[in-house]
């Protein structure tokens, strides 16, 4: 085994908090085997000789990179994009703040997990997707739903448990599904969404190759946290996604804490992005508190998946300003750490950037904030006034097939045949 690695050059991966010092802008390529896009930030490449020499000595160079700084001279976004990003992040923040208020007033109940502080990741990634691309999330999914396009009214109603919610009140905070917007949930168990996302990516590839829908290039994003990266399903899916070259991006929202368990206490090697190359895909680390950096990395990763080159693992270093859930007293986190990250609030950072690069004026941003306030207020009013689900809804939707008797040879549900029995469920 030693001989196979003797010619490999191992490079120490870059440390996590290397975002402050500027790095020389290399003209290094994202994927050395393909020309084209030059990628911002420094790259160091890990050269690994393929161990499978029986397949003809394929050499794969997998960059392990840490994106450090966005070069300010270059205009990365247009004014319109900038305002869109700002609006999306403000929507996420206001919505979550309103959720907290509603929870403490008793309108919302159960488990509610808020996304304050992590908006840059959601906005940076999801705003680059098309409607047909899919997003799979965890229980911290309100803002993913909003970024993907689910109306604020529908999400708020769902949280209140009303029949006008996106899942008619049957899902709740942790189970946001929207077929129209291709939001595939909303999973309460950590790591559960990753194989489902891999399956959605598998479908995209299957459609293109087996069902011959040539233009099907849908990409799937799987969002999950640092704690999930110690779960077996994560590794199983990294393996299969790389093995079958599925169009998926694994986005790790590393907020350093899994309820009260610090990432450093739970993980043998806390640098999650390094786990990508172990499975044959590039691993990226990006400052998740800066939406522009996240967006740049996201662009590359999503384009890579769309071209059919396979999965990517992106680790976003971010932070949640509130506790794990609204029931979490959040006593274990150091206030100094919280203050440090609060100073790097992604919304203030984007605001500063927009104003300094004269892309938007203070007044325009204030107008957006006011508009979003109205949207959120309207969502609350709508949810409040909506009716709770009717009693008959309890037994609905257990099966897609209305009574569970299967499909007959004529292609119709057997229970629709009047000679068949009525079925077992009744209210």
């Amino acid at each position: 085994m030693a001989t196979a690695y003797s010619s490999a050059k191992f490079v120490q991966p870059l440390s996590l908090n290397s975002t402050i010092n500027g790095r020389s802008r290399d003209n290094s390529l994202f994927d050395p085997l393909k020309t084209g896009t030059s990628f911002l930030g420094s790259t160091r490449k890990l050269r690994v000789n393929s161990v499978h020499s029986n397949q003809g000595n394929v050499r794969r160079r997998l960059p392990v990179v840490a994106v450090s700084e966005v070069v300010k001279e270059k205009k990365l976004i247009t004014k319109q994009e900038g305002l869109e990003l700002y609006e999306d992040m403000i929507l996420g923040r206001s919505f979550e703040d309103m959720c907290a208020q509603m929870y403490y007033r008793g309108k919302m109940f159960g488990f509610v997990h808020l996304y304050n502080g992590q908006e840059a990741v959601s906005t940076g990634f999801i705003k680059l997707l098309k409607k047909e691309d899919s997003v799979v999330s965890t229980y911290r999914d309100h803002v993913h739903a909003l970024s993907k396009g689910v109306p604020a009214r529908a999400v708020m109603s769902e949280l209140f448990g009303k029949a006008t919610g996106c899942c008619r009140g049957q899902g709740g905070s942790m189970h946001m599904f929207s077929k129209e917007h291709n939001l595939l949930g909303g999973f309460a168990f950590i790591g559960e969404g990753i194989p489902v996302a891999t399956g959605a990516a598998f479908t995209s590839k299957y459609r293109r190759e087996v069902l011959k829908e040539a233009d099907c290039d849908h990409v799937t994003l799987a969002f999950f946290g640092d704690g999930t990266c110690n779960n077996g399903q994560f590794f199983e899916c990294l393996n299969m996604a790389a093995l079958w070259k599925l169009p998926i991006v694994f986005v790790v929202e590393n907020n350093l804490w899994a309820i009260g368990m610090s990432h450093l206490r739970a993980t043998s090697d806390p640098q999650i992005y390094k786990k990508g190359p172990a499975f044959g895909m590039p691993g990226f680390h990006v400052d998740g508190m800066d939406v522009l950096k996240v967006r740049e990395v996201a662009k590359e990763a999503i384009e890579r998946a769309r071209r059919g080159e396979g999965p990517t693992l992106v680790e976003c270093e971010t932070y949640r300003f509130r506790g794990h859930s609204l029931a979490d007293p959040d006593e274990l986190r150091d206030p100094a750490e919280k203050a440090r990250y609060a100073a790097r609030d992604p919304i203030t950072a984007l605001k500063k950037y927009l104003i300094e690069s004269s892309l938007a004026s203070e007044a325009e941003l204030k107008a957006i904030e006011k508009k979003i306030d109205e949207v959120v207020e309207d969502a609350v009013e709508f949810a409040d006034e909506s009716a709770p689900p009717p009693r008959s809804q309890l037994l609905e939707n257990v099966f897609a097939d209305p009574k569970g008797f299967g499909i007959g040879p004529d292609g119709r549900y057997r229970c629709e045949d009047p000679k068949f029995t009525e079925g077992t469920a009744h209210v």
Partner: protein, 391 residues
């Protein structure tokens, strides 16, 4: 005339003629529901095809293979994934020949990652593909049970009907021969307690073919519990069964043998033992009615209750552990609905309440045998003979 019109309409709706022939024009003759003891569904062949009347013998393995083959050729969205389903031709040779026929994109050999590939199957099903996920045995499904229950069974409900999961989880279930405790667990009761799942358990080749086809076409998650010891058994199949559009209804039990003195319910391999027991009982003047459940969820309570109301005595037999088992549910259902019809206490036969031992004689004692069923039936008929000594 109506036939032609139907063909016309359906062809115009975009279905190919092949699919049309598959979904065919098979009329069903359904017996009157409710109290009739003969709740048997028999597909009747139309005049479009002529069948020979010779009865063929078919192994369960062949039946499953042919069902998979036909469903995969009819619908390109159906694909098979599991360990050793491709190049190894299936761990129990159920998927023999499918890799050559459909290629590696539709018959996927997976790494040994039940949680991972089951989740991938569920994710693919969210988008309308129809995966058939094979577990080498259902014991391994415990590593993936989170996906079977939380992402597959509950999704239609949680998303309020937006996302249905047309997936089939299949594999051998229950005890085999001498495979030890970790390979012999029966999962019928576990999966049948979950709303949102359909649980099917075939016995004969006809059941295997019909139920697997119904399961693959079904828009909901189906857990299909086969039995390893049945794979090699042959059963006679009629021509209707061999037709490519044959499928059985889900949620309907079959009365394998009619009787009037005692009702015996069973599923999977135990149906065979129950039929043998019924033969023995017949010689002693007890006419036993054997019900092949076929579908554990939804459970065909109406057939079972109708039968008990006729015979007034019940014996439930299963291979799994006794506590909270399928038999417990059937007994509760009968007591709730047909209490006044019962002439004797309900009898429950189940596997021994121990992890499956390895030694051959202990294993024989841990699983219901024909003698146990006969004894229980006699007890129910108040004709029991006291047991001579512990076996």
């Amino acid at each position: 005339m109506v036939l032609l019109l139907a063909v016309n309409m359906v062809t115009r709706a975009g279905f190919s003629l092949k699919q049309l022939k598959m979904w065919g024009i098979i009329r069903q003759k359904v017996a009157a529901g409710g109290g009739s003891p003969v709740a048997r569904i028999r597909p009747v062949v139309s005049n479009l095809r002529n069948y020979s009347s010779a009865v063929k013998q078919m192994m369960v393995r062949e039946a499953l293979n042919s069902a998979l083959d036909e469903e995969m050729s009819a619908d390109p969205k159906v694909f098979l994934m599991g360990e050793e389903v491709g190049e190894y031709q299936g761990a129990y040779k159920i998927s023999k020949g499918l890799l050559e026929k459909y290629g590696p994109e539709r018959v996927l050999d997976t790494p040994i990652t039940e949680a991972g590939f089951t989740g991938i199957g569920v994710g693919a099903a969210y988008y309308g593909l129809k995966p058939v996920v094979e577990f080498m045995t259902f014991n391994f499904s415990m590593q993936a049970i989170d996906h079977i229950i939380n992402s597959a069974a509950k999704s239609n409900y949680m998303s309020s009907g937006q996302i249905s999961v047309p997936i089939v989880f299949r594999g051998p279930n229950g005890a085999a021969a001498g495979v030890g405790a970790q390979h012999s667990h029966c999962y019928a009761a576990w999966y049948a307690s979950v709303p949102g799942l359909k649980v099917l358990s075939p016995y004969s080749s006809e059941d295997a073919r019909g139920l697997l086809k119904a399961a693959i076409r079904d828009p909901d998650p189906v857990v299909f519990l086969e039995n390893e010891l049945l794979y090699g058994e042959s059963f006679p199949v009629s021509a209707e069964v061999l037709d490519s559009s044959f499928c059985l209804p889900i949620g309907k039990a079959k009365i394998e043998r009619e009787g009037k003195d005692v009702t015996i319910t069973a599923f999977s391999k135990i149906v065979g033992l129950s039929l043998k027991a019924a033969e023995i009982l017949a010689k002693e003047g007890i006419s036993a009615e054997v019900i092949n459940l076929r579908s554990i969820r939804p459970l065909d309570r109406s057939t079972i209750n109708a039968s008990v109301r006729k015979t007034n005595r019940l014996v439930t037999v299963e291979e799994g552990f006794p506590q909270h088992g399928v038999g417990a549910e059937i007994c509760a259902s009968v007591i709730e609905e047909s209490f006044s019809y019962l002439d004797a206490p309900v009898e429950r036969i189940a596997g021994a309440d121990v992890p499956m031992p390895y030694a051959a004689n202990l294993e024989r004692m841990a699983v219901p045998q024909v003698e146990d069923i006969v004894r229980a039936a006699k007890r129910a008929c108040y004709r029991s003979v006291p047991m001579a000594a512990a076996a």
